[in-house]
Symmetry: C2
Subunit: 361 residues, 2 copies
C-alpha cells in the first residue's frame, strides 16, 4: 500500500520539489514563499499548498550562501558556569531568539588564545556578528579584524580602548565606590577588596597579571576612590588580587584574616569570589556580619537564601545580554554609525551582611 512514494520522502523536499508540485518555476515558488516580487494569488496559493503538503522547509544554509546572512550570532564568554555569565547568556539567547537569531556559544576561560580560536571558528561559520566579553584589554587584533571585515562586534561587560565597537557595560567604578561607601558608613576603616584578574602571564615574569580586564580594574579604582574620599590614603593595604586558575579567593582572604590587624569588612568583586570569602571566614571561625561584613558584586540566587542574606551590587545580567543583542542587530541590519557605549544601572541591595565593626578601629 505504500507504493506511492512521493511524500514519504527519502530526502527532505526542496524548492524544485515544491515548484513541480505546484506547477510553477523555482523562481515563482521562491517569490511566493519569501513574499517578494509579484505572484498571482492563484500561484501563491498553489505554492503554499504544495509546500505544506510536502512539509517543505527552506534550507537556511543555501539561503545564507546567497544572502550572506546566517541569522546566527556568536557569543564568547569567559565561563558559562559563572552565574553572571549564565544570566548574561540567558539574556542573549532569549533576545536573539525573539529577533529571529540563533546563538553559537563559546567559552574562553579568560584565555586570549581560546578567544582567538573561537573568533576564527565562528567567523568560518559566518556568524552575522559577535558578542564578546574580551579576555584581555589590549590583545584585540582578532576582534578589530572581524569588525573591519564586516562582522560587527559588541563588547559585553568589558571595554577595550582601541576597538571601535559598541559596548554594553555597567558603571563599575561608581557601583564599587557606592558599595565601599556603605561599608565606610557602617563605621569600617579596614576594608579589604578581593579580586581575580586576568590570566597567568605567559612569560614567568611577574607578580601581577599581564593584561587585566577593564571590569576588575574599574572596580578596584572605585574602591580606592571611596577609601580616599574617607581620608584613607593607604588604599592598597587590604587590596588582594589574584590570577584566574592560579590563586584561590579563599586563600587570599585567609591571608587577609591572618593579618595582625585584619580587615573588618570585605568587598568581593564577584559572586564566586564572595563564596571564597565566606568560606575563609567560616574556616577562621568568623561570623558574618558580627565579625566580618561582606559585600559583593552580583546578586546570585544564593545571596538571598543563605543566612545571613548577603548585601550585593546587583547587575542587570539578562538586560546586559539583551541590550548587547539589540546593539549588534541594529548594526548588522542598519547602516554604519559611530560606536555607542551603553552603560546600565546597577542596584545596591541591602540585606544582612553588613554590620558595624566589632570593637574600635
Amino acid at each position: 500500500m505504500t507504493t506511492n512514494r512521493r511524500k514519504p520522502a527519502g530526502r527532505p523536499a526542496t524548492l524544485p520539489d515544491v515548484a513541480r508540485e505546484a506547477g510553477v518555476s523555482r523562481s515563482t515558488a521562491s517569490r511566493a514563499l519569501a513574499g517578494y516580487g509579484s505572484v498571482s494569488p492563484d500561484a501563491r496559493e498553489r505554492v503554499r499548498a504544495a509546500a505544506e503538503k510536502l512539509g517543505y522547509r527552506a534550507n537556511q544554509l543555501a539561503r545564507s550562501m546567497i544572502t550572506g546572512r546566517t541569522h546566527t550570532l556568536g557569543a564568547i564568554v569567559a565561563d558559562i558556569q559563572n552565574p553572571f555569565f549564565a544570566g548574561v547568556t540567558r539574556g542573549i539567547t532569549d533576545a536573539a531568539r525573539a529577533a529571529g537569531y540563533q546563538v553559537l556559544l563559546a567559552n574562553t576561560d579568560e584565555d586570549v588564545a581560546a578567544e582567538r580560536a573561537a573568533v576564527k571558528m565562528l567567523r568560518d561559520k559566518h556568524v552575522d556578528g559577535l558578542i564578546v566579553a574580551p579576555a584581555a584589554t589590549t590583545e584585540t587584533a582578532h576582534l578589530a579584524a572581524a569588525h573591519a571585515a564586516g562582522c560587527p562586534v559588541v563588547l559585553l561587560d568589558r571595554q577595550a580602548p582601541g576597538l571601535p565597537a559598541d559596548s554594553v557595560t555597567v558603571d563599575n567604578h561608581g557601583a564599587a565606590q557606592d558599595a565601599v561607601r556603605r561599608l565606610l558608613a557602617a563605621g569600617h576603616r579596614r576594608i579589604a577588596l578581593v579580586s581575580l584578574l586576568g590570566t597567568a602571564p605567559v612569560d614567568g615574569a611577574g607578580a601581577a597579571s599581564s593584561d587585566p580586564v577593564s571590569t576588575g580594574l574599574e572596580r578596584i579604582e572605585g574602591y580606592r576612590t571611596a577609601l580616599r574620599e574617607a581620608g584613607l590614603t593607604d588604599t592598597d593595604t587590604y587590596l588582594r588580587t589574584g590570577t584566574f586558575h592560579r590563586e584561590d579567593p579563599a586563600d587570599l582572604t585567609a591571608e587577609l584574616l591572618s593579618l595582625p590587624e585584619p580587615p573588618t569588612a570585605v568587598f568581593a568583586t564577584d559572586s564566586m569570589i564572595a563564596l571564597g570569602v565566606l568560606s575563609a571566614a567560616r574556616d577562621h571561625g568568623l561570623r558574618v556580619p558580627e565579625h566580618l561584613s561582606v559585600v559583593t558584586f552580583d546578586d546570585t540566587d544564593w545571596a538571598r537564601a543563605v543566612r545571613p542574606r548577603i548585601s550585593v551590587v546587583a547587575q542587570p545580567v539578562q538586560e546586559l545580554g539583551a541590550r548587547a543583542v539589540h546593539s549588534l542587530i541594529t548594526r548588522i541590519e542598519g547602516t554604519a554609525h559611530a560606536p555607542e557605549h551603553i552603560v546600565l544601572d546597577t542596584e545596591f541591595i541591602e540585606r544582612e551582611s553588613i554590620a558595624p565593626p566589632r570593637s574600635g578601629t
Copy 2:
C-alpha cells in the same frame, strides 16, 4: 603606493582566488587544502603558500552544502541559569570544541512548545545532531521525527520511553533512595520531599502537571522506596510537588513547616529548590541542621561555602554533557547501532546539614 590591490581584499579570498594565485585549478587547490586525492608536492606547496598569502579561510557554509555536515550540534536545555544546566552546557561546549564541533544553544523553560520551535530552527540550520533535555516525556514526536530524518538525538538527564535515542543520565532512583536513607539513618521519620515538576497544564484541568519529566519522578520513587524500606507506609504525607513558574519551592516548604507535625528533614530535588527550602526555614526561624536537616541534589558552588555546608547528591554535570556529545558524535560519524543508555554515578557528599531530629518523632 597602494595601487596593487590584490591582497587588501574587499572581500575575503575564495578558493578560485587561491587557485589563480597558485596557478592551478580549483579542483587541485581544493584537494591540496583538504588533503584528499593526489596532488604533486610542488602544487601542494604552491597552493599552501597562496592560501597563506591571501589569508584564505574555507567558507564552511559552502562546504556544508556539499558534504551535508555542518559540524554544529544543537543543545536544548531547560534553563541555562540553573547551575545544573550551566555545568552540563559547559561540558557540552568543551567536549564539542575538542571534537571540532560548535554548539547552538536554546532554552526551553520546560516548555514543550518552545522545545518544538527550537528543534525546528536548529534543524533548519542543519545541525548534525541534537542534545536535548526534553521538557516532556510523552510529547516527543518532534524528536522522533528529527531522529528518523537522520538528525540523531541524544537525551540528556531525562528519559523518553518511546524514543529510540541514546541517553545519558544518572541513577536518580538510587541516588534519591541513598540520600533519604542517610536521613533515616540519622533518626528522621518525618522526611519531606520538595520538587517542581513539568509545566502548567494547558487546559485548566488539573492539580498535577500533565506530563512530568522522568528525572523528578524517579527521584520521588527513590524517596518512596527508601521510606517504605524503613517501614513508613504513608509515603506521601510530606511529599510536595509544584509546577514550574507557578509554585515557589519556598511556599511549598513554608506550608510543610506550618503543619501540626512538621517534617524534621527535607530532601530537595535540585539546588534551586534547596534555596527555597533554606529560605523558608530561615523565615520560620528554624536553624539548619539543629531544627531541620536538609539534603539536595546538585553540588553547586554555594553548597560548600554557606554555613552550614550542605550535604548533597553530586551529579557529574560536566561529564554528563561531555558523554552526551561523544554519544552524539559517534552516532553522527559512525554506523547505525542500537540506542545506548549511559548511566553515570552520583556521589553523596556528606557535609554539615544533617543532624538527628531535635526531640522525639
